[in-house]
Symmetry: C2
Subunit: 124 residues, 2 copies
DNA sequence: CCGGATCCGATTCGATACTG
DNA sequence: CAGTATCGAATCGGATCCGG
């Protein structure tokens, strides 16, 4: 099923274009946020704290194009649009959630490493 | 050990700065490339196909600062510099390798999803 | 010749203002 | 409410140059 010739380390390999999109902080946070079920555009913007509307729109479109999530628009007033992970997107949830957890669980060690690094006298 | 208040979805949380660095294609590829042991700068540049010297240098410095890898310089001629994952970096190897594998294993589905999306008539 | 610093164009980012 | 448009600012990234 999987072509063993695919290798993200090869510049021209299509799998790298996919890695480039999923190895992105906004993608990670959006997929993490959608773990508990579909969310509206506004709810996503609140949950993924600090994201701008423009970047949220762009990232959501890219993810929809790649089959990671679906966009469902309801013809209501006021308009309502919901985003939800596809089956494919749910297979991505694990790896990205693991990344998020790693960041939360190891931030203390990272902060300590930064202090050590910044206080090194040898900045030759 | 882990502060439950840390949440990568909160803009001001330090863990997000860490997530922003590890959720990056170059970081992912470098950590993946270092899985089999230390590599020299030049070997890394070949292995992570397509990366420029500048970006490689910057990313390696960031990762060194965060305690993900070590940089060892040998006073030889010609110069030799080796990069190697730390114990902390090895805990990151799993999650990032999983991301790379996801990209390779699901690229076919992603490519098909892109075709479908691009052929949709309703681009209202 | 290797590691990496510099320069500078290209891309991305994000705040604001506006539309259906 | 859910976007789109526009436009500086910031970041990324590649070609090129430099020190040992």
């Amino acid at each position: 099923m999987t072509n063993p010739a695919w290798d993200v380390l090869v510049a021209t390999c299509p799998s790298r274009t996919s890695l480039a999109k999923i190895a992105n902080k906004w993608t990670a946070m959006i997929v993490i946020a959608l773990n508990d079920g579909p969310l509206r555009f506004g709810a996503l913007r609140e949950t993924v704290d600090g994201i701008s509307g423009k970047v949220l729109t762009e990232t959501l479109r890219d993810l929809e194009r790649d089959g990671i999530l679906t966009r469902t628009m309801y013809n209501e007033m006021p308009p309502r649009v919901e985003y939800e992970l596809t089956a494919l997107g749910q297979t991505l949830q694990g790896p990205l959630a693991a990344l998020g957890r790693w960041a939360e669980e190891h931030i203390e060690l990272v902060l300590r490493a930064r202090e050590d690094y910044d206080q090194r006298p040898d900045r030759s």
